[in-house]
C-alpha cells in the first residue's frame, strides 16, 4: 500500500512534468508558425499537426493524473446528502466506474493505435497511431490510479479530492 503510493506519486509527478513540457512546446510551435509566416514569409507546414498531436498527448496524460488527484469536475450533490457509510460506498463505486472506463480506454485505445499505425499524418510524417498512443497509456494509468483510490477508501481513509495546487 505504502509502496503503491510512492510509485503513483512518482508517476503522477513525472506525468505532470511531461504534460507541462508538452504545453511549453506547443506554445513555442504555434508562435514559430506566426513568426515563420509573418517575418520569414515561409509558413512551416508541420507546425499545426505537431501542436495537435502534442495536445492529445498532454491532455490524456494529465487527465490520468486528474484521477489520482481528484481534480476532474463531478457533481457531489447526491453524495453530500447521504450518511458517511453510504458516501464511502458511492465513492468506491464511482472509482470502480472510472477504473472500468480507464480499462476500456486501454483496450480500445490500443486497438485504435494498432489500426491507424500504418496511416501517416500529412506534413508531419509521423504515424497517426503515434498521435493516439497517449490514450491507451492514460487508460492504463487511470486503472492504476482508480485502483489506488479504492484501496485507500477500503483502508478506511477518505481519498478526498485534492484542491488543485
Amino acid at each position: 500500500m505504502k509502496n503503491l503510493a510512492i510509485i503513483t506519486q512518482w508517476a503522477s509527478n513525472l506525468l505532470i512534468a511531461l504534460a507541462g513540457l508538452g504545453l511549453v512546446a506547443m506554445t513555442a510551435i504555434v508562435s514559430w508558425q506566426v513568426f515563420g509566416r509573418f517575418i520569414l514569409n515561409s509558413s512551416p507546414s508541420w507546425s499545426e499537426q505537431a501542436a495537435l498531436t502534442l495536445m492529445i498527448w498532454f491532455v490524456t496524460l494529465a487527465a490520468a493524473v486528474g484521477v489520482r488527484e481528484g481534480f476532474h469536475i463531478r457533481i457531489t450533490a447526491v453524495e453530500d446528502a447521504l450518511p458517511p457509510t453510504a458516501r464511502r460506498g458511492m465513492r468506491i463505486l464511482a472509482d470502480l466506474v472510472v477504473g472500468a472506463i480507464g480499462a476500456a480506454m486501454l483496450y480500445w485505445g490500443g486497438e485504435l493505435v494498432a489500426r491507424t499505425w500504418g496511416h501517416v499524418i500529412p506534413s508531419l510524417g509521423l504515424s497517426r497511431g503515434f498521435a493516439y498512443l497517449g490514450l491507451p497509456l492514460a487508460g492504463g494509468l487511470i486503472v492504476l490510479f482508480a485502483f489506488e483510490r479504492v484501496l485507500v477508501e477500503l483502508g478506511g481513509k477518505n481519498a478526498a479530492d485534492k484542491e488543485m495546487a
Binding site: 509566416r37 514569409n41 515561409s42 509558413s43 507546414s45 499545426e48 499537426q49 489500426r115 491507424t116 500504418g118 496511416h119 501517416v120 499524418i121 500529412p122 506534413s123 497517426r128
Partner: protein, 316 residues
C-alpha cells in the same frame, strides 16, 4: 441482420443538397427498389459525424458502412490514391472522366482493399483554381510571395511552394476570416466551394488555373462488404456505378450556377493564357509523389489517353 436486410450508414461532409449526397441517395433508391426494400442507404450529410479523416478511420473500423470522401485523406493511407490529385495531370474534365471510368480508375479503387475499404466509384470534384485578394494570376510570378491557404496535404504544400507562393496549411473553418483580415492572401478550390464558403466576398480574383481535378470517392467498409452476399455485392457495385452519371449532371449544373452567381457577385474571373508556364514547374512535385513502378505505369497510361484531346499542358 434479419435475412440480410440492412440500412447502410454513409457519411458525407457536404450539405444535403450537394451532388455527392444526392448521388448516394439515388444509389440508395436504386438499391431499395431492386432488393424490395431489403437494402437501403442512410446518408449523414453536412459532416454531422465528423471530418473526413475521422469518418474515414471509423469506416475502416467498421463503425460506418460507407463514406464519401475527398482523395486527400486517403493519400495518407494509400500512395496509389495520390495519382488523380497530381497537378496538371488531366488536360480536361473529359480526360479525367475517361481515365477514372476505365481500368486506371479501377486499379486505384482496388488499391484500398488492403486498408479495410472497398472503393465503389469516383465522383467529380471539379477543377480547382487559385483565388486571392490582390490581383488576377496570369503567370507564376503573380503568385510569388502570396500566402496561399492549402489543405493539410503534403501534395498541395509541395505544389504551391513549387509555384513560388507561401503554402499555408490552415483549417478550412479559419479561411474566411483569415482572408478578410489578411492573415492569408488566397486559397484554391472549385467554383461551388469558393461560392458556398463565401470566400469570394473577401478574395474576388478567381484565376482559372485548373491545377487539380482530383475526384472524390465513395468507399464501403470491408467489414460490411464481407457480410454481404455475393449477389448483394454486385448490386452495391452496380448501383454505385449508376449513380455516377446522375452525379455528374447535377455537378455540371452546380458549377454553372455557382459561376453565374460569382460573376453576379462581382468576382473577376480570368483565363490563364500560358498554362505551360505553371505546369512546367511541377516536375519536382511529380518526382516526389510518383515513385513506385505501379504508380508510374498508371500515370503513363493517363498521359497517353490525354495526348489525343484537351488543353492543359503536362510536364514531359
Amino acid at each position: 441482420d434479419r435475412e440480410g436486410s440492412r440500412v447502410l450508414t454513409s457519411s458525407d461532409t457536404h450539405p444535403s443538397d450537394y451532388p455527392t449526397v444526392q448521388a448516394v441517395n439515388e444509389m440508395g433508391r436504386l438499391l431499395e427498389t431492386r432488393t424490395g426494400g431489403r437494402l437501403r442507404i442512410h446518408v449523414y450529410a453536412g459532416g454531422q459525424l465528423g471530418a473526413e479523416r475521422d469518418t474515414l478511420e471509423i469506416t475502416t473500423f467498421g463503425g460506418l458502412d460507407m463514406n464519401r470522401v475527398n482523395l486527400a485523406p486517403l493519400t495518407a493511407i494509400e500512395p496509389m490514391t495520390v495519382i488523380p490529385s497530381l497537378p496538371f495531370l488531366f488536360r480536361s474534365t473529359a480526360h479525367m472522366r475517361q481515365a477514372l471510368d476505365g481500368p486506371v480508375g479501377q486499379a486505384i479503387l482496388d488499391s484500398l482493399r488492403p486498408h479495410g475499404m472497398v472503393g465503389l466509384c469516383f465522383y467529380d470534384s471539379g477543377e480547382r483554381s487559385f483565388y486571392n485578394t490582390k490581383r488576377p494570376i496570369q503567370t507564376p510570378a503573380d503568385l510569388k510571395g502570396l500566402k496561399i491557404r492549402v489543405q493539410n496535404s503534403d501534395l498541395f504544400v509541395t505544389m504551391v511552394k513549387a509555384l513560388g507562393a507561401d503554402a499555408t496549411p490552415m483549417d478550412v473553418g479559419e479561411v474566411y476570416q483569415a482572408l478578410v483580415q489578411g492573415v492569408i492572401d488566397g486559397a484554391e478550390n472549385n467554383q461551388p466551394s469558393y461560392f458556398t464558403g463565401r470566400h469570394f466576398e473577401a478574395a474576388p480574383f478567381y484565376s482559372l488555373s485548373r491545377h487539380v481535378m482530383a475526384p472524390e470517392i465513395l468507399v464501403m467498409s470491408m467489414a460490411r462488404w464481407e457480410k454481404l452476399s455475393p449477389a448483394d455485392r454486385d448490386l452495391v457495385q452496380q448501383t454505385a456505378r449508376e449513380s455516377v452519371p446522375f452525379m455528374r449532371t447535377l455537378w455540371d449544373k452546380r458549377v454553372e450556377d455557382a459561376t453565374a452567381k460569382l460573376l453576379a457577385g462581382g468576382v473577376k474571373v480570368n483565363e490563364i493564357a500560358d498554362i505551360a508556364a505553371f505546369s512546367d514547374l511541377m516536375r519536382p512535385v511529380w518526382d516526389r509523389f510518383v515513385t513506385s513502378p505501379e504508380q508510374k505505369r498508371l500515370v503513363a497510361e493517363i498521359q497517353a489517353m490525354g495526348d489525343s484531346a484537351g488543353t492543359q499542358g503536362v510536364p514531359g
